[in-house]
Symmetry: C2
Subunit: 178 residues, 2 copies
DNA sequence: CCGGCGATTGTACAAGTGTCCAAGAACGGC
DNA sequence: GCCGTTCTTGGACACTTGTACAATCGCCGG
């Protein structure tokens, strides 16, 4: 594996372990087992390396989550359970996602990544719930995405008080009544 | 206003404008119109000043949001509309909130702030929707909080594709059917 | 063998960071 | 006025950070 690939891999690992804003050039070089100067040679600047690694990482993580959600029985409750399980086992990925959301106005270069990820996620969720296209898909996809993000943030910050998958399905039925 | 109060005010402004992780000691001193060394004298370290300012700021912002939500007609749709309006007019506050969520594992000192804010927000939302205590309040409060966070993140990242208040109420009814 | 070229790296540098210190300023009690 | 305490600050220090540069390495065609 050449230095260029090592740097991308090291940057992805740093995105997991340290996050986007706090990873330094030396962090990446150390994680990649490569000299500091290699970053400038292959990518010009640390920021460009991080952005390229972020682009790939978001696609990979999104794909993993998509397959995890698709290998459920398709019921809403099973999907929420899979989301919660993902938060439990892949905490650093989720924290990094929210860190990025918190920098969307301050780091303009990541804005497009987030918009793209949000839109594909929304349509995939709509498809997962059986709504292919049209207004119903837009509504269900948007709702599912909001619930997914809200559920994830609850499990990240306060797992003891967070809603379980069963809680969530019960709550939705409850909320639709009155 | 003494230097101590100026520093707290400057730190709050920096939390809005720059965020938590990226504000430097010199940013705060400049915003407060005070010398750099005043931070060490009054607060010991920049981190402690930022944490104290954060504690106050979270309480204030939470209070403002709570009153904004309570001055609606009480319907769910009006609450969502107020949330969306808050995201529109107070973007920096919301981005800072998600930035904090993204640092919850990496900055242990802010963890308690977030847990406390999450729990009070949940109970206030439950009360807002007429569910005082018990299991129903826990479910409705948790659901409302998840939706609030998910809605906010949609409006932060991609306002063009985000669900409106009417969309959200319609989607919930739709999701409760099948 | 060897010249050339891309790849790699040790190192240096400037800018930025948090913290500390000694000197002075402001203030109140006597 | 005088003194002790509290507050304030300019400046300095050690450290981190991103980037640039010159030297070196490795390899391959001739």
């Amino acid at each position: 594996m050449g230095n260029r690939e090592s740097l991308i891999a090291g940057a992805k690992q740093c995105l997991r372990d340290i996050g986007y804003t706090r990873t330094t050039a030396r962090d990446i070089a150390t994680a990649a087992g490569v000299s500091l100067a290699a970053i400038g040679y292959h990518f010009g600047s640390t920021r460009e390396l991080l952005n390229q690694a972020l682009m790939e990482a978001l696609a990979e993580w999104g794909g993993e989550l998509a397959t995890a959600l698709q290998t459920t029985d398709g019921s809403a409750e099973a999907v929420w359970a899979a989301v919660i399980e993902s938060v439990r086992t892949q905490r650093p990925l989720w924290t990094t996602q929210f860190e990025l959301a918190g920098q969307v106005d301050r780091l303009p270069e990541i804005h497009d990544f987030l918009v793209a990820g949000q839109r594909t996620g929304r349509t995939e969720l709509a498809g997962l719930f059986g709504a292919g296209e049209g207004e119903e898909a837009r509504l269900l996809g948007g709702l599912a995405q909001a619930l997914l993000a809200g559920l994830a943030i609850q499990w990240l910050i306060d797992p003891d008080g967070a809603l379980t998958a069963a809680d969530l399905t019960a709550a939705i039925k409850l909320a639709a009544r009155p």
